[in-house]
């Protein structure tokens, strides 16, 4: 899997496949840091909390496809929970993050798994990520425990570190491999994946840019 800047991707003739990905998990487990590492290969100590949600994109090449991750990074605090469905609705992938030094954060991750299984797109590919393995000295969640849970629920499972970069790209690569692209391509024609709007017939900007004819419907 390789990552390329926007221009490279645009230069190649391939049409990127958009994958809507949502990050969920308790406060301060490192959701935004994981995205920052994945998108910009950066790390920032004391990254400020996310309020509401943040949107970022990253393109990557997998085999002969160009995949464009549209990443929705959500707020961790329980109060923002009511916003979450807006972001995971129509998502094709989810990264549920916990902190390996905080057992409570795994419990929260489990409730997210349940919620997604119940309410999200049935084909959603979920990865469970135990973040902060750079703090392995303070580990409080055994690898085996989380792995067993992930297997049981058919989730991808990783332990990673946004700080050191360990396993971050792997999370997204493995997710990208498991996504059913044919369905997305079929769905993209009818559905739009951005939150905050009513469901029917919205304009999908990127698709419109690339092939206006296919996505001509505009109700404004």
């Amino acid at each position: 899997m390789s990552f390329s800047g926007r221009n490279d991707a645009a230069a190649s003739n391939m049409k990127p496949i958009q994958v809507k990905l949502v990050l969920l998990g308790e406060s301060a487990v490192g959701k935004s840091s994981i995205v920052l590492r994945f998108v910009n290969n950066e790390y920032q100590d004391n990254k400020e909390p996310t309020i509401g949600a943040a949107f970022l994109t990253q393109r990557c090449k997998l085999d002969d496809r160009i995949i464009k991750f549209e990443i929705w990074d959500t707020a961790g605090q329980e109060r923002f929970h009511s916003l979450a469905p807006m972001y995971y609705r129509n998502a094709q992938a989810a990264v549920i993050v916990y902190d390996i030094t905080k057992p409570a954060s795994l419990e929260k991750a489990k409730t997210w798994v349940k919620e997604l299984q119940r309410q999200a797109n049935p084909n959603i590919v979920i990865a469970l990520v135990g973040n902060k393995i750079d703090l392995a000295n303070n580990r409080a969640v055994p690898y085996e425990e989380a792995e067993a849970y992930a297997n049981e629920n058919e989730l991808l499972f990783f332990e990673a570190s946004a700080k050191t970069g360990t396993n971050i790209i792997e999370v997204f690569t493995e997710l990208a491999k498991k996504i059913p692209y044919e369905q997305i391509l079929a769905n993209n024609k009818n559905l739009n994946s951005r939150p905050g709007q009513n469901e029917n017939g919205r304009v999908n900007l990127v698709d419109q840019d690339n092939n206006n004819q296919e996505n001509g419907q505009c109700n404004c």
């Binding site: 301060a28 990254k47 509401g52 951005r194 939150p195």
Partner: protein, 1039 residues
């Protein structure tokens, strides 16, 4: 005798009593393995010391760090010290002089002890003497703010004055100061250190000497013993006592003996010593009580003189008042009183602030002076060895000390004992330079006068507006443009502006006489933004002085105060000014303290309930991420303060409002500004959230946050239709990027310096100002957004570091003035009116109905009250007409068969818009509307909801500015009955207008209007059609 000599030795400077400022520098321990930031912790700890003032203490003023974590500490300074004094007079033997010194040292020590601080740094060097030979202890907080010396890699204090327990156990309490005082007193009495030690083996022998001292207590005699070879002078000091006849000297020596108790458990504390016979009398005579805490704003005068009331008599009528105000402000500007630097009246910290404004740079001062203080190197180096040996619990051993000598990296780089003086002359000369430069202009005027901004964005040649500044707008607002927010308050504002106009004229005249035009222009250019004003020393000096007066007369100075705050808030006093604006009162300390007690009970309870536990956990996660680039907020003390203030807020709100992530950021500016006065930070937070962030922290805040987001998109499409419709087209709604803007009042998206600028305006602005600030941010990015796609625009709107805040704020205020009130959510207008009428916010009831927000509509809905203000400047488009529209197949003429409600009655001057299929008007008709609109400021669509909304949306998509829908489904005569204009509802027969228009042109000249008094039959003008590619319309228009 001594007194006479004294005068010669000390230059009394009664005419020049400006205390000097000095700085020293040190490097804290580096912390590789720990998450804790030692440097910021020192800065955090230091803040408290700034508040401790006592006549015998040098005031601490400031601490800053450079990029390499080197710290610079600024404090009050006096040139003379006991050390320099002894150099001149050899020794002090006058007992009453010693008594006075002793007493003053003890009072200072007792005072800091009562604040929980141990000096442990008493030495001849650190006992300074002021102009009247009073003691001023220096460096008294060094040991304290370096966490008892643990945060630095060098020893604090002079080993000569170390108490035995420091050497033996590396432990000490406040009694170590007692010991040091004892040694110092012998030193000044005999004129040298009472230990006879070889300078080559100085420390080893010194410590051996100190440790050898023992006290023998017999029934009627107690005396010291020690190694004669080292302590000879010390012992003989006491032995001489026996021969001494003088009672005073006996008492003095007894006092010293009491101090030099090797067993720290038996040694008295400084406050115990104040009861000793030696100083008892002085102590009893001193009437100094503890400082009494006065009401919040009276606490400290920045200027030492009390000023007379400068507020004008309330009874004066308004014209007289405004005239007197003009004179007054003229005076303030021209008044020597306000522009002359009176340093002797200023507190040292204000002097330091001005020194920095004048361009003073601490680090540069140190570099300039190549500061390596040679004399202290050897002592510090050696002592640090001993210190570390002790630290590691090793036995003091001279060999070890010498062996480990190599390991320490140049301690002289870690600590500059020598202090540098900050030159006040430099400040004065800079001040006068600036003054010359500034004479020609008036900042206050420029604040309101400024700007090259183009407020009306011109697009595609349509509705070209002339540029208008906020000031022009304010002046014009009774003529061309409507100020929807005009209230008693803004009338005052007008007065104010006229005031400045007056001053402007005066200054203009002066300018004409004396200045080259180019110079003025350059000056005006410079003064546009507040960040330049913030750095202008003369302006800031005047503002500090003015606000100091106003705050000290608070609350009677309220009106004056608010007006001044609207012009410019001085950064130096921002914390206090904000608190005053928010209405924080003097009882906040009592309230806060009781909340803190509750807070301790709740959070220390093992049965802590779930919601509190959740808050505790959330704060644990959030606070270490809250504005951590700020030195104060990233210190441990800062973290604790943030947590405590938020917990107390949570208790005070008792469940009505709850902690949402982001509230920590809202709290941050208040804590940073009132770091030493948590209670003020708390009260500010409480009031700010109540009054400026209504509803946003309710458990279910969806109605409020959505109101903000939707209103913002309405504002954008109202004023910048091209941008608004583009954003809608790419589905970039505010909920994608603007939730943190409003949930945190921008504190989450901007750093503190920018937040200060924004909040300066929010605090004195309308409750809906934040909405317009948000809109102004988006509009500032318009060209980038219009040229970008969804992804790029989201990034632009989440990374706002390039936003010009000054421009944005000015734009926001203009947008607000030009927007009908009903464009903002109802609840904000309700809050505004309760503010004006001084009603209680708790009593208002808001209907939280999400359906009333109309998120999918592009055009705002306005209320009839706003329409009343704007109707005669509005192009009113009436869509109630059920008239049928026919299109002639052969020639493309469009003909409207007149019928419907419009003929029966309509709003004066309105135009009937016919029904088109799908409610989409043809371009020709749109162009016609654009041409007509040139004579108007606003477009209002009236009539049946669904059609009207569609038309309004189409007009916005066509880039027509300020389009709204009158939110009244059935307008009729009754709607306007209460209006004073009787003929607003017009029942006379409308005239029909026939016009031809070229599709490709919006030039009015191609418009040919034929007027007929009665409806015409379509066929009657078939042959009149003069142009090709044009369409002919007949529109009914009320003339």
């Amino acid at each position: 005798m001594y007194g006479v000599r004294n005068v010669n030795v000390f230059k009394l400077k009664p005419d020049n009593k400006i205390s000097e400022l000095s700085a020293f520098s040190f490097v804290p321990k580096c912390n590789i393995n720990s998450n804790k930031n030692i440097t910021t912790n020192i800065i955090g700890k230091f803040q408290y010391l700034k508040e401790i003032t006592h006549p015998n203490l040098c005031q601490y003023i400031n601490i800053t760090k450079n990029r390499k974590d080197r710290l610079f500490v600024v404090s009050e300074y006096f040139e003379n010290s006991l050390e320099s004094h002894l150099k001149e007079c050899k020794k002090i033997t006058n007992i009453s002089r010693i008594r006075k010194l002793t007493f003053q040292i003890l009072s200072a020590l007792m005072f800091i002890n009562s604040h929980g601080i141990i000096n442990r740094n008493l030495s001849l060097k650190n006992i300074l003497l002021d102009f009247n030979n009073n003691v001023k202890l220096d460096n008294w907080g060094f040991y304290d703010f370096t966490n008892k010396g643990k945060d630095v890699q060098f020893p604090i204090g002079n080993p000569e004055f170390y108490a035995p327990e420091i050497i033996k156990h590396h432990k000490c309490n406040l009694k170590a100061d007692t010991w040091a005082l004892g040694i110092i007193l012998i030193y000044i009495y005999i004129g040298h250190l009472p230990f006879n030690v070889d300078s080559n083996l100085f420390l080893e022998e010194l410590f051996e000497a100190i440790l050898s001292i023992k006290k023998v207590n017999n029934e009627n005699d107690s005396h010291l013993t020690g190694k004669k070879q080292f302590c000879g002078d010390l012992l003989s000091f006491f032995e001489d006592e026996l021969k001494e006849e003088n009672e005073d000297i006996k008492i003095f020596k007894d006092f010293v003996l009491t101090c030099l108790e090797p067993d720290s458990k038996k040694r008295p504390t400084p406050s115990d010593l104040l009861c000793h016979e030696f100083v008892k009398e002085l102590n009893e005579n001193s009437n100094e009580g503890d400082e009494v805490l006065s009401p919040i704003f009276k606490k400290d005068f920045l200027f030492s003189e009390m000023v007379k009331d400068i507020i004008d008599n309330e009874n004066e009528n308004s014209i007289e008042k405004s005239i007197s105000n003009i004179t007054r402000y003229k005076n303030i500007i021209a008044d020597e009183d306000f522009n002359d630097l009176e340093l002797e009246k200023l507190q040292p910290r204000v002097i330091f602030y001005l020194w920095k404004l004048a361009g003073g740079d601490l680090e540069y001062e140190f570099i300039k002076q190549e500061l390596i203080s040679l004399p202290s190197i050897y002592r510090v180096k050696n002592a640090s060895q001993v210190y570390y040996t002790l630290n590691d619990n090793q036995v003091v051993n001279a060999v070890d000390i010498n062996n480990s000598f190599q390991q320490v990296s140049d301690p002289e780089n870690l600590y500059q004992e020598k202090k540098i003086l900050l030159s006040i002359d430099y400040l004065i000369s800079q001040f006068n330079e600036y003054k010359k430069f500034n004479k020609k202009q008036d900042y206050l005027i420029d604040m309101l006068n400024s700007n090259n901004n183009n407020y009306f964005i011109s697009k595609n040649g349509i509705s070209q507006e002339k540029e208008m500044t906020f000031n022009e707008f304010m002046k014009n607002n009774n003529n061309d443009v409507i100020d929807f927010w005009n209230s008693s308050e803004s009338i005052k504002n007008n007065e104010y502006i006229s005031k400045y106009d007056e001053i402007n004229k005066v200054i203009d005249n002066n300018d004409k006489q004396s200045n080259k035009e180019g110079e003025i222009k350059a000056n005006v250019e410079l003064s546009y933004n507040s960040s330049v004003l913030d750095k202008d020393i003369v302006f800031q000096y005047g503002r500090i002085k003015l606000f100091d007066r106003l705050l000290n007369q608070f609350p009677s100075s309220w009106n004056e105060f608010i007006q001044e705050a609207k012009i410019h808030i001085s950064p130096y006093l921002r914390g206090k000014i904000w608190a005053a604006i928010l209405g924080v009162t003097g009882d906040s300390k009592v309230i806060y303290n009781s909340l803190c007690e509750k807070c301790d009970l709740i959070y220390n309870d093992s049965n802590i309930n779930n919601s509190n536990l959740e808050l505790e956990r959330q704060l644990e996660a959030d606070i270490p991420r809250c504005h951590q680039y700020n030195d104060l907020l990233s210190s441990d003390i800062g973290h604790n303060k943030l947590k405590r203030v938020i917990k107390c807020w949570n208790i005070a709100e008792s469940g009505n409002l709850v902690y949402w992530q982001g509230l920590d950021s809202v709290c941050a500016p208040f804590v940073a500004l009132n770091f030493n006065e948590e209670e003020i930070a708390f009260s500010c937070l409480l009031k700010f959230i109540k009054n400026y962030m209504y509803g946003l922290f309710k458990i279910d805040n969806s109605y409020y946050i959505r109101s903000y987001l939707i209103a913002m998109s309405h504002i954008i499409s109202y004023h910048d239709p091209e941008l608004g419709s583009y954003l809608k087209k790419i589905n970039l709604t505010p909920d994608i990027y603007a939730i943190p803007w409003f949930m945190t009042m921008f504190t989450h998206v901007f750093p503190l310096d920018k937040i200060y600028m924004i909040w300066d305006k929010i605090l004195i602005g309308k409750p809906s100002l934040p909405l317009f600030i948000g809109s102004a941010i988006v509009i500032q990015l318009r060209s980038e957004i219009l040229n970008g796609d969804f992804d790029e625009s989201v990034l632009l709107l989440t990374e706002l570091s390039a936003i010009n805040i000054d421009k944005c704020l000015e734009k926001a205020q203009l947008l607000l003035r030009m927007s009908p009130k009903s464009i903002v959510p109802d609840f904000l207008n309700i809050i505004d009116s309760t503010k004006i009428s001084n009603d209680n916010l708790d009593d208002i009831v808001i209907t939280e109905d999400l359906d009333t927000l109309h998120s999918d509509e592009l055009a705002p809905r306005i209320k009839i009250e706003d329409f009343k203000k704007m109707y005669n400047k509005s192009l009113i488009l009436d869509v109630r007409n059920e008239s049928l529209l026919t299109q002639s197949e052969d020639n493309g003429y469009i003909v409207i068969s007149p019928s419907g409600s419009f003929l029966q009655g309509h709003i004066k001057n309105s135009i009937s818009i016919p029904y088109y299929e799908n409610d989409i008007l043809p371009t020709s008709l749109i162009n016609y509307i654009k041409i007509l609109n040139k004579d108007y400021q606003y477009v209002v669509v009236v009539g049946e909801e669904e059609r009207a909304i569609k038309l309004a949306e189409q007009l916005i998509t066509e880039c027509i500015q300020r389009v709204s829908y009158l939110n009244e489904n059935n307008i009729n005569k009754e709607t306007f009955e209460s209006w004073e204009e009787p003929d607003i509802w017009c029942c006379k027969k409308p005239e029909s207008e026939k016009f031809y228009i070229d599709d490709n042109s919006d030039d009015a000249k191609s418009l040919d209007i034929a007027r007929n008094l009665s409806p015409i039959s379509p066929r009657s003008f078939n042959s009149d059609h003069p142009f090709e590619n044009t369409q002919t319309f007949i529109i009914y228009k009320c003339q």
